[in-house]
Symmetry: C2
């Protein structure tokens, strides 16, 4: 890790005093050991308590201080995956940080030497929101050289996230590139919008009607502004047969809520660890799924895929299970996928890898 | 800020226990007051010392604790700008965070309702690096609908950054969209690569030759791999007359070093707060600018623009001034732009806004 120190030296050379490191260089952390265990370290000579939480831990780990004031703990072995972890120094949570433990062979979300699609950041004018909004758009390999039209998936992030989440944390483009290269997926376009009609700093995100305004605003922005923008700017099929909607967590609730309310617009609907409460709560306008799906014949005729997945360690598991039971008792064809895992990107990456090939067969 | 708390509540609903907040919600921070001052707060009941550093402060500010364990300080007034700031809790630095103080009218890097270009993430195979690398590519408004060819700017980030820096922190695409909309800039394509041949975790980033290997690897990847990829995948002019190179800090050193070494490839060269040491040091192969520019007639014939800018509060100011003096004493036509400011994105956004229209007139 002399290399890292070298980079730090370069960074220090060009950093302003206000951000310059003082004293000793940061200790090496995380250090992945040959046996798969991982050592975490943080310099905090004046702290009295340092803990580590992480998606690879069942409970917070207490770190121990050495004579130089560096706290450390060794955990694991940790399986090959990308995880989030976080130190708490005297009870103050530090930034969530990624730990990437690579394995002996490429994972399904590792960049491989195959043909690559592109991820575009696009800005569109939204009449609904009365402002400019950003969406990320995945176009498959050779899109620019082709004259083909493609089906489209609208794919939503979770609470606290944004339109960059599915590419930065979900590796959506890498997963899709790999599936296409392996002949498991026909090329498609994926549109990843910003899931809040009004960002937290907006006055419109405040007040008793905020949840309903967010829900209705996002839905109208999607249907009245974003879909027309996509159809005007990308070679996509513009009919419901070629349009899917999916999302994770808050976005899963949005996908199920909007998808089942608009079967004239979408024919494929999927919720990953869906937060149904944010959609069904009275504050959000109290979307009533039961009456929404009452006409089971119409729903079954229109929906080519209805997929609901949740990990058994997820605190939302029971509400997803109840939702699947409602679908079952209402005679709605669907897949309820019960998997390992909690409310994490590990699960959502796997779900995308599993669901994408089912969308447009 | 009830809205923000509401968002936090939604986030908590869907968060796993491992990342759930405990106890009281986070205090409102930063709070921009009507008089332009800003209050920063952080809950740290067990800490004994909390400080704030920020690009709007001349020296670290000490926070004070209230009875509930919330530390706070009010600073400013702070001019409309985007700044980074950072808490240090008992000497441990927290994440660098943005403070965006908007003004009464749109700033040159604010998104306006004009025609928008796109920012694409592209992956290319690099023979030099023997792997897949990512670059960000700005295409101007209406690029997809046009059949025109465009000039290209290769634009580099600084030490510790990556290929997302110029769009995420530099707002390059927004600045260029606004300049184009205002008739101040002819449309161009901007390519923003990853500035390290080998990331810090690579064994090739280690050892005594690391700086030279990084420098040579980046230069070869740019010329042998990235430029051919761009020319094969974008409608750009493929001659030196339509090719510019620029960068900030480490990337400024790279732009000046590569640009002046390859006047057969680039006709426009600019360094923003350039870190010349990383290019000229013996470890980096000791690029000797003096002999590089010895043939002043050739350099002046070939270079249509040579622009060097640095803020007077920047620790790199003197080395940039010496470089400008070397250019002057060698008879090389150039612009040395002395500005206010330190080693910050405030300066680099302004430089891009100023330099982009000069590139291809």
């Amino acid at each position: 890790m002399r290399a890292f120190r070298l980079t730090v030296v370069i960074a220090m050379l060009v950093a302003q005093p206000v951000f310059a490191q003082r004293g000793a260089p940061a200790p090496r952390s995380p250090e992945i050991l040959p046996d798969g265990r991982v050592t975490f370290r943080i310099a905090a000579p004046n702290a009295t308590d340092v803990r580590l939480t992480g998606e690879f831990l069942k409970a917070p780990e207490t770190l121990h201080k050495d004579a130089k004031g560096v706290w450390s703990a060794t955990v694991g072995p940790v399986s090959p995956e990308i995880y989030f972890y976080q130190f708490a120094v005297d009870g103050v949570a530090m930034a969530r940080t990624k730990l990437d433990v690579s394995g002996p062979s490429p994972r399904f979300y590792d960049v491989r030497p195959v043909a690559h699609g592109a991820v575009e950041q696009r800005w569109y004018d939204s009449k609904t929101i009365q402002g400019v909004r950003r969406a990320f758009v995945y176009t498959p390999p050779n899109y620019a050289r082709s004259s083909e039209r493609y089906p489209v998936l609208y794919l939503f992030h979770g609470a606290g996230g944004d339109e960059s989440g599915w590419s930065e944390n979900g590796r959506a483009n890498v997963i899709l590139d790999n599936l296409i290269a392996d002949g498991k997926l026909k090329p498609l376009v994926v549109v990843m919008p910003y899931g809040y009609a009004y960002p937290p700093t907006s006055p419109l995100a405040d007040g008793p009607d905020a949840m309903k305004r967010q829900r209705d605003g996002f839905s109208r922005d999607l249907i009245d502004d974003l879909i027309p923008f996509v159809q005007a700017n990308y070679r996509v099929h513009a009919d419901r047969e070629h349009r899917a909607i999916a999302g994770l967590s808050l976005g899963g609730g949005q996908a199920l809520g909007i998808g089942l309310s608009h079967t004239d617009v979408f024919s494929r609907v999927a919720g990953f660890s869906a937060a149904l409460g944010a959609v069904t709560s009275p504050q959000a306008g109290g979307l009533d799924f039961k009456s929404l799906i009452a006409d089971s014949k119409k729903m079954n005729d229109r929906l080519k895929l209805l997929w609901v997945g949740c990990g058994t360690e997820d605190t939302l598991f029971n509400s997803n299970k109840e939702f699947a039971q409602l679908l079952e008792s209402s005679g709605i064809k669907h897949t309820f996928r019960v998997s390992d895992g909690a409310h994490t990107w590990q699960v959502w990456r796997r779900y995308l890898n599993e669901v994408a090939p089912l969308l447009f067969q």
